[in-house]
Symmetry: C2
Subunit: 166 residues, 2 copies
């Protein structure tokens, strides 16, 4: 599956071996994620490369003429009928501010909707450095549905956003 949104950006759903290090580099370049979080991002790529749809992780890769611009990783939530989680959505720092995140999100929603997903969830921290992330989800139409105090650590709540897809 490949859909050209503009002359500059192509989206694909198939993850490739070569995406592994490109994703690692991009996640690192954001300066936003810890080494542990970066390792988890790469682990999800590895699981999808190894197990395919059985991994529970689906990728959406945005590419420009120079290579990877961003990506999303999502999957149905086991034990639910029609709920999915957005695990990762990252845009290369050099490509931020051009609406690429919102394009990836729209394509991810469209993909999930076509797979019968009714409701998409995404978690984030409520700490100040995540305020731009929170504003991004709000711009994408997500609403804050829950706040779990002291979840990640003392004074570091987990915020659960959701968006109805149907």
């Amino acid at each position: 599956m490949q859909a050209s949104l503009t002359p500059q950006i192509a989206l694909r759903h198939t993850i490739r071996e070569s995406d592994r290090e490109a994703i690692r580099g991009m996640v690192q370049r954001t300066g936003f994620f810890s080494a542990e979080e970066t390792a988890i991002a790469v682990e999800l790529v590895d699981e999808a490369l190894r197990d395919g749809p059985g991994s529970g992780y689906e990728f959406l890769i945005a590419e420009g003429s120079e290579g990877l611009l961003g990506y999303a990783c999502m999957g149905p939530i086991p034990g639910t009928n029609g709920s999915a989680d957005l695990y990762w959505l990252v845009v290369d720092p050099a490509a931020q501010g051009q609406g690429i995140g919102q394009r990836i999100m729209a394509a991810a929603e469209e993909h999930l909707r076509s797979r019968g997903v009714r409701k998409l969830f995404v978690d984030t921290s409520g700490k100040p450095q995540y305020f731009p992330t929170i504003r991004f989800y709000e711009r994408c139409g997500f609403v804050q549905e829950a706040r779990l105090e002291d979840f990640f650590g003392i004074g570091d709540p987990k915020i659960i956003f959701s968006k109805r897809l149907s």
Copy 2:
């Protein structure tokens, strides 16, 4: 680690190969869990038997003179500092109504507290058949911290309970 609570009940933290089928049988006998859920319960036993603490799943087994009476499965939440999830707490139907669930819960909390866990989370469905489960968590001192509408399915919310351990 083994602690005798009463002459009739012993608690242990080490999971054994022989617990696997005993847990499967007990989970099935409750009549409460789907085949998919039962498979997940056994899968967590398998992961703990195979990977030990590295699995992320810790068990607490309650035994009487006749065998397994109940068990809990819990673990630290990756990426958090001091939060844990209670994944399963099951009491054999033949042994219910004797406070065994509350004993297992108290021992699980004590174990987690000693490991530095500040806050324990447990999820459940908000459907009517889970009202006894919800009342059990409330009796154990948990408070409802979030409710995610239509999470498991339409009209089937996820309720997130939490309890501060320190």
